[in-house]
């Protein structure tokens, strides 16, 4: 009986805790790249500010958000900042079609089983996490962000913003 209880407890614990809070180090397990093969990770961008955007092609708000993120990326991308898309619980081909449809140029990873989204503690898509150069969460936005949010809350934190 103890063995059975132990097994059940192990199963629950192995699911892991969920969610990161502001100031905590964000998960950075490697994920497959949405296009081009290989894997990528948030850790690859250590030393840069990264806006992690969880999205999915079937998510309606993501369709209005993606062009806003792309516009922000075009204005701010460089050695010190990038947007990083993470396509979560989505079909690979649907995700690739989405990237082509909205002409997204920022890097994209694939989180097919949603484990990374779970580790970040997302409650759905889209959600955005601004990660600082040390890998810690500095901003968290549940739901879609727009140009106003990005300019008001994200841009001032980036290097060269004069803050």
């Amino acid at each position: 009986m103890l063995a059975v209880v132990g097994l059940l407890a192990f199963g629950l614990l192995s699911k892991g805790s969920s969610g990161v809070a502001l100031g905590e180090v964000a998960p950075s397990e490697p994920l497959p790249r949405l296009e081009g093969g290989g894997t990528g990770s948030l850790a690859d961008y250590r030393g840069r500010w990264v806006l992690v955007n969880f999205w999915a092609s079937w998510c309606v708000p993501c369709r209005t958000e993606a062009p806003e993120l792309e516009e922000f990326q075009r204005r701010h991308a460089g050695p010190e900042f990038t947007v990083l898309g993470i396509d979560s619980r989505d079909l690979t081909e649907d995700g690739r079609d989405f990237v082509r449809r909205y002409d997204l140029t920022y890097p994209q990873l694939r989180d097919g089983d949603g484990d990374t989204a779970h580790e970040f503690g997302t409650t759905g898509v889209p959600e955005n996490f601004l990660i600082d150069p040390n890998g810690k969460v500095r901003l968290l936005a549940r739901g879609p962000v727009d140009a106003e949010y990005l300019d008001r809350y994200v841009a001032p934190l980036l290097p060269g913003a004069g803050s």
């Binding site: 097994l7 059940l8 192990f10 192995s14 079937w58 619980r89």
Partner: protein, 157 residues
């Protein structure tokens, strides 16, 4: 006559050769069958119960693979490649997932052994108090027999 029999045998053989691969081939996968065995990862329910936009895309994906002639197992493997093992309603019997099958089996065996031990103990407890071997049923004691005879004699007609 011989020629007719030979022709019949040949036709029978040909029919068997044609029928054999057809019966050996796997049955064509169906959407309803697969929907009942996989989950909608976003909704957390069986795909057949899900109507969310993600579920609609997943169903379209399954339909496309069926149209391509993939078998049920191939389609389930493709879904696992897209969404991970948790897309399967019944996990594969590997690693920790094995416990989904082992735990009920072990619990059943434990319950069965407990039941058998309980019955044995109950039978032993309801046996003779001295724990001796089973004795043949004994008749009434001489006093009882005497009293019984007397009582019966009173009812003699």
């Amino acid at each position: 006559m011989k020629r007719t029999a030979a022709l019949l045998c040949l036709a029978l053989l040909a029919a068997l050769v044609v029928a054999a691969p057809a019966s050996a081939a796997e049955p064509r996968a169906s959407l309803s069958e697969i929907e009942a065995e996989v989950m909608c990862p976003v909704c957390g329910t069986l795909l057949q119960l899900a109507e969310a936009p993600q579920a609609q895309r997943q169903k379209a994906f399954v339909r496309r693979l069926i149209a391509e002639g993939r078998t049920k197992e191939q389609i389930k493997d493709a879904l696992v490649a897209e969404y991970g093992e948790e897309v399967l309603a019944l996990p594969k019997g590997k690693g920790f997932n094995l416990s989904a099958y082992l735990v009920p089996a072990i619990a059943f065996v434990i319950a069965l052994v407990a039941l058998i031990l309980g019955v044995l103990r109950w039978r032993r407890a309801s046996g003779p108090p001295d724990g001796g071997s089973k004795a043949a049923p004994q008749g009434p004691s001489p006093e009882d027999a005497e009293r019984l005879d007397a009582d019966l004699a009173r009812y003699d007609l």
